[in-house]
Symmetry: D3
Subunit: 252 residues, 6 copies
Amino acid sequence: MTSLLVVNPNTSAEMTETIGVTALETGRRLGVEVRVICPHTGPDSIEGSFDEVVSAYWTVDCVLQVPEQFDGVLVACYGSHPAIAALREAIDVPVLGIMEASLLYALPLGAKFSIITTSPRWQPLLEESVRALGHEALCASVRSTGLAVLDLERLPPEQVRSRLLAEAMLAVERDGAEVIVLGCAGMTGLHTAVSSIGVPVVDPVVAGVALVAALAQTGARTSKHNRFRRVDRRAIEHLPPGIARAYQHARA
Amino acid sequence: MTSLLVVNPNTSAEMTETIGVTALETGRRLGVEVRVICPHTGPDSIEGSFDEVVSAYWTVDCVLQVPEQFDGVLVACYGSHPAIAALREAIDVPVLGIMEASLLYALPLGAKFSIITTSPRWQPLLEESVRALGHEALCASVRSTGLAVLDLERLPPEQVRSRLLAEAMLAVERDGAEVIVLGCAGMTGLHTAVSSIGVPVVDPVVAGVALVAALAQTGARTSKHNRFRRVDRRAIEHLPPGIARAYQHARA
Amino acid sequence: MTSLLVVNPNTSAEMTETIGVTALETGRRLGVEVRVICPHTGPDSIEGSFDEVVSAYWTVDCVLQVPEQFDGVLVACYGSHPAIAALREAIDVPVLGIMEASLLYALPLGAKFSIITTSPRWQPLLEESVRALGHEALCASVRSTGLAVLDLERLPPEQVRSRLLAEAMLAVERDGAEVIVLGCAGMTGLHTAVSSIGVPVVDPVVAGVALVAALAQTGARTSKHNRFRRVDRRAIEHLPPGIARAYQHARA
Amino acid sequence: MTSLLVVNPNTSAEMTETIGVTALETGRRLGVEVRVICPHTGPDSIEGSFDEVVSAYWTVDCVLQVPEQFDGVLVACYGSHPAIAALREAIDVPVLGIMEASLLYALPLGAKFSIITTSPRWQPLLEESVRALGHEALCASVRSTGLAVLDLERLPPEQVRSRLLAEAMLAVERDGAEVIVLGCAGMTGLHTAVSSIGVPVVDPVVAGVALVAALAQTGARTSKHNRFRRVDRRAIEHLPPGIARAYQHARA
Amino acid sequence: MTSLLVVNPNTSAEMTETIGVTALETGRRLGVEVRVICPHTGPDSIEGSFDEVVSAYWTVDCVLQVPEQFDGVLVACYGSHPAIAALREAIDVPVLGIMEASLLYALPLGAKFSIITTSPRWQPLLEESVRALGHEALCASVRSTGLAVLDLERLPPEQVRSRLLAEAMLAVERDGAEVIVLGCAGMTGLHTAVSSIGVPVVDPVVAGVALVAALAQTGARTSKHNRFRRVDRRAIEHLPPGIARAYQHARA
Amino acid sequence: MTSLLVVNPNTSAEMTETIGVTALETGRRLGVEVRVICPHTGPDSIEGSFDEVVSAYWTVDCVLQVPEQFDGVLVACYGSHPAIAALREAIDVPVLGIMEASLLYALPLGAKFSIITTSPRWQPLLEESVRALGHEALCASVRSTGLAVLDLERLPPEQVRSRLLAEAMLAVERDGAEVIVLGCAGMTGLHTAVSSIGVPVVDPVVAGVALVAALAQTGARTSKHNRFRRVDRRAIEHLPPGIARAYQHARA
């Protein structure tokens, strides 16, 4: 049976659990096994590039410590998290981030999509990522709700939902969005909050599990030609066990 | 159980069978039902925009005559076939073309992809489609093998394979491709011809079934906001039954 | 004397007549003969991709049934109507759509243009076409009046004019348009409705006749290298006479 | 009768005459009057931006000294010559450069065009202009023949023709061009040199006269909103008569 | 000691002095010598392409009359002034315009920049320049204050400052600008007017002197390969002394 | 006196020394103080995204442990190293990478630049970075020498130089480059190897020190609006001292 690993790159137990609920439910619908992990060290939410650097180090390390085999990996932080490219070099099975997956999922469903994100700092970051992924032509907008990542867990649900809905409506009415993408792992499960506006709403964890599963079930492998060539062998001290092992076991 | 409809928009029985072999095998791996059809009238291969116009008319008609329910549709002609957008308006479940699916499948597997197509006339047509789909930034090249679509069925297999391999090697070595996409429905099953170059090879029918399945199994629906709004009700005479029914049953 | 064929791809007699008034008047100013036709079957207005597929089939057929020689063809539906590329393959003289012509006409007249279209569904469709034609850098906006195509004939003229004017003013004041393009064949003759805003207004039928005439009078021919290579010979049954003849008379 | 002014921005009598032969012949075919002029001072060929600055000053001046009325102006230097935008501000009738006109003419004739220019210095300059005009998506290449502008008049015709043909063939075979555009006013009349390759060849003076005529005959005017707003009134000494008059007669 | 020449391309003594105050102060901070000049003929402010053509002629001439050596040149008109490219051909040391310099300076300081310009006519002109310089992806907006260039000197300072501040705030709040660039030489010294909005404000004369100095102090030279190849030798009468000398002393 | 910090993100003492020689010499020419450091842990060369993740963690940490004040930071790894954005959040003075600096330096010197890099894996990585920095329109090519980063120190100098020269010549002759950029910190000092081709060669460490100095000397600060907002306060255990301090001293 196809087996997927989902890694939440922050250390928040609540968010890992929230992600896990959606991921496991989606796995059941698709007939694939899903395991969800998170690192033990690092920020408990990722609010910018500094957090990404710290988080990427420990996320890569924790994935590379998992002893079992799996057929695909999903990095459940919304954005171009540095762990994604690093893991594509370190292992052979497909590795996707939930942002990339959500956009691939949204593209066939309408002419343009908008991403609804959390704090205003994520707006330029996600615009950068949209461009890096090559999807700027079909992106209607990236809109911020003004909420922090952890507000999604801590604020009254009704307040979270109304902020999401307000921005989604502006995306449809002003920006020409025909599909709404929830732009944060912590928003998983909240698509019903937005469904009243009458356009498809993409849950990034659902999209992520569905697309990694599609690739994994049909035998896809990451290209090792140039961009994601395997890690070079190195002897470096003072590294955590997963990273250390990746360097030691690399080709000489 | 999730059920998919695959339509080959040309009338060639051989090509429909070739597509069917891959589509059914992929369906089995994913646990979804797949049915493959083709129109009874129209060109037996699609070699440009004129053929597309004739084919689209009869393809849309034949899909809209299928009495059973299905959860997703795959249009198995490589390119921006006009039937894709027309069907997105006529029905609610996800509709993908195999070109779009193959590119969504290829994007996470390497930095850039190249498409290997048949005759030189498809090169500018597919370049247009790559731009229409918004993927030009990550497309290394579209390369023609110089073969006609039906040559894929009629020429000695070794000759077809060596032409494919030759262009795929140029795509990797000169154009910087890290993933090769087979750019014709008739090339399905030929990925082994190219696999010796050591980069992932995307079979468009495999990719198409996998992605429509992923969308269908997780409940995706086409956005009916603006671009793919439902067909308007019209009373028009002299139309074939599938098209006529779509106009009659549309909202007033 | 140079002779042009204008085809209205929908079956509306009123719209064909409206188009004819402008086309013939423009022909007189330029010293070229103009003939206007429309298909006998298909939708009486084109409101999306489904209508385009049905319309393209009958439009191509009716053009290919015209027995006389002409020196250029204008397809009078605003958008990337599939009949345009199909006819470029089937015949040698220049074939333009009124959208393409209107943008080529507008480009030298100001820094940026905006297109005023009918229903909201045309907004994403025309944005796609602007990108397909390669003019996105100089397009200030595509704006919808919220009217249906046939509203242009049926609503009180004053209401139509005031909707056009309102959107044109927003295009100039908010979007930076310096030229307004009327984005529907049915809007021909309405440029005076918008002229009060003080920027050039492009009537797409005027632009279409003027540009096809300019190409035809100076001997231009469609390139038959790759993209618009001639149609392949095919023996297909059950096709209408124009399409059937094109396949029969094609090179073997 | 519609009357056009063609200005050759360099002072070469031979090139002015060469341009005149094509322009007058094209005018006759279109039924418009054409007058051809050139400035009395400035470089006798334009080989870069320094020459453009000197040439633009005297070209604008000589156009603004013409006492009669005309309905459109063609600037017969291939490139984004600064006189084009300056004249658009100074007068109301349409002003086109032959580069812009040749590309608008080429676009409907094939999927992609290539420009064949003279010296290698024009290659980056014309690439810049293609981007400035917003046509980079459909430009297959800009290729240099290695000839100087005046070589076109002075070298043995056979040598000029064979250099043009060689680059045009590379444009078609390697770059995917389907239409060849002659990228120098001095190349006018040489399209037969290239016609053997079997794709349409655009003569920029033919295209220029045809498109200015099309705009002029249908009453087009340059937008005076923002980009090409009329010149401000100024009292400046030591200016040549045409420029001086434009400043004096401008609105206060 | 490194020595820079700053040329104000208009003839306004006040603006030349304003520019000089900033340029000399910046030179002192960087330890470079700065000399500021302006032409004796031409418009006293540059309000579009016509003024640019007249100004470029006399600006190039006055720079080429300066007898001393200098290590870099700054053209202090905001925009793609034609003198910049012309001077790059005529001399070897680096030549920058203040627009180009201000954008290179702004790029590393935030995700996106906005330019605040004077009259509405500059908005499309500067958008063209942003695209010509290749920076459109990171430009949030170009906003006009509605002021004329000379209003910056003549209106009450408080009025100028409040217009600047109002547009800068809209750039940050609506357009997503993280850095504000003052888009007119005449705005130099006004950055304090805008600093209250809490994002970096780039003074184009400061940026210009700083970047020309950085290039000059580290020995940069303009590439003479193709685009900015040296001027060809020509014998032309009736030219002003600086231009005449450049043609006479050019390589044969 | 202005004081700059240069950090080599790998742990190679030889490369740190090579970078230091150029950086200090450039600092002397500009009149600024330069200090060069490198982390104690991590890879001794950076050969892809996995190395970047490990290196970024220790690079950020070592910069944030430096007790003295400095006015600008240069990250001396060629590419979009994750430490650059992380440091822009953590500190207020300008932070540049040598890639970004080298491109800003190259842009005013010619029409297009090419980057000569080390191993083939860097080619797609640097193409991604060129696009992320928004400079793709003016990038002629990224070319790989086929050398590993440490080959630059270990191979016979003549071999390194001849590989650099060979690729630089192809960049100029085939790709249209007018400026060559050395695309690796380890190439600093090697510009003389390439200077024989007669176009400007940009040393990325020279460009980096010159541009950080220009920004620092004129008081530039990183925008803290959105993209590079300051790091959030967090209490996380098991972090190295520089990172830990940045989280502890952040605003609450």
